[in-house]
Symmetry: C2
Subunit: 253 residues, 2 copies
DNA sequence: AGAATAGTGTCTATGAGACAGTATGAG
DNA sequence: CTCATACTGTCTCATAGACACTATTCT
């Protein structure tokens, strides 16, 4: 078969799916949308959609993100405003992953601060933040939830699990945990992000020493806040450093 | 636009491209094929090809690898025979990356030991191992090479650079460097893999202490070899461990 | 006062880097 | 013999983890 014989390749549909993560009420949550049509009608799924004919993959992901949440993503570089971090996650192309046609989905990972309202374009009942534990619970539904969310449609549970694992490992050796925080945040708030994403408790004193001692990780803004109660805490912005060396260590077990 | 309106999505061609890396003569090398047709006729490119209509992405990558090199890949799990490590790398979908049509390429990374002959299916002049430094050299060709290899066709320089960076970082925290070694190897041979991939010199004594002291990384086979000269060295196989904790530290600078 | 959170200091165990010194082969 | 490589041991410094202690607010 000569390469690029224009009649010799099978046609594919290409979509982007989004794993949008945030930390709400001390829990790692993902954005889920309810499917209005078959297949998997009524089930929860990851947001996503078709890549347009002249659109880059990353642009398609940013467009879908804006349509679903109103969030503006900055694929690389530091957060200028209240933007979200966006990166490509992986591509899923099992021939049977969609029962109707051959669809290859390029999944993207988005890390966003909590504050933005969950939606901007759709209707309120069809999009929500759900704890990833509930979305990934075994199909018997062991997790008590006001509304059953698992199992996700298609192979989206696998995609979500891959995205969560990527986020868990990336905050070890990068400063990406700050993408879950508002523009100004305290050391304690950053620690609660780590605790929620990793699902562990960290020693506040050692954590404080570690993050404030890593050059370029945090930049003090001069302000303080008491929004967490207790003694006023310094406010910080994310510094220019993107990689942490040495990394944050995720406690074993 | 209703989702999955079968007439509402633009058609894409989906390909797999392969970044096949090995260590030869103390240098990190990648597999390159010479293009026989336009565009970029006569230029070097990464091996790859179309994904078939009912073929998984990983299966397509393994098939292309076997067609180009005769290597058999085992996507996950330990090397049973002289297989190569294969994993998905990233997906490239710039609308203009191929001048003729919309092509989305799912790049895969392959790490292989040196021994296998460079090719099995094509003709000898159209496929070769080339040092990644030469393939990624600036277009002015600062690297002296018997035959100019850079710049690669399409966006393959970017793909190769991403694959090399992935390999460089993965051998820090995983036992994947053993994928570059034959089934049985010495500590010194493993060290030369690290030195070639990272492009640095490592202290042989500290390296020996580190790798032999990490549980599950190396399993002694009982044999010895003098193929490197000097005092006979113990032979090892790769152990069951896949992640290294604590990781190998890549020297700075 | 008591509770809650922020922040500092101190000790210890672990591991990386530097490097002395010994072991065992090939020529 | 020399040379090359393999391997062991020892010292020092950096840092993670454990945890005592102080600081500053709110109720």
């Amino acid at each position: 078969m000569p390469p690029y014989d224009l009649s010799a390749f099978p046609p594919f549909a290409v979509t982007v799916d989004l794993v949008v993560l945030t930390v709400r009420r001390h829990a790692l949550c993902a954005l889920a949308v309810r499917r209005g049509e078959p297949p998997y009608q009524g089930r929860w799924a990851l947001p996503g959609g078709f890549v347009r004919a002249d659109e880059d993959l990353e642009a398609a992901a940013a467009r879908e993100l804006a349509e679903e949440t109103g969030l503006h993503a900055h694929p690389t570089g530091p957060p200028p405003a209240n933007g979200a971090h966006l990166e490509q996650l992986a591509t899923y192309g099992d021939p049977k992953r969609d029962p109707r046609m051959r669809v290859v989905s390029v999944a993207h990972l988005v890390l966003a601060p909590d504050l933005p309202a969950p939606r901007a374009g759709g209707d309120a009942r069809s999009v929500r933040w759900a704890p990833v534990d509930a979305l990934l619970a075994p199909e018997t539904g062991l997790v008590r939830d006001e509304e059953q969310t698992a199992p996700l449609a298609f192979d989206h549970a696998r995609i979500l699990a891959d995205g969560v694992e990527r986020a868990r490992s990336k905050i070890e050796y990068s400063s990406l945990a700050t993408a879950f925080c508002p523009q100004e945040f305290t050391v304690g708030e950053l620690r609660r992000v780590y605790e929620a994403v990793w699902g562990v408790a960290l020693d506040p004193r050692n954590f404080h020493r570690k993050v404030t001692g890593t050059p370029g990780f945090l930049v003090p803004t001069g302000g303080t806040t008491t929004r967490q109660g207790g003694r006023p805490a310094q406010l910080f912005r994310a510094g220019g450093a993107t990689v942490l060396n040495p990394p944050m260590l995720r406690p074993e077990i």
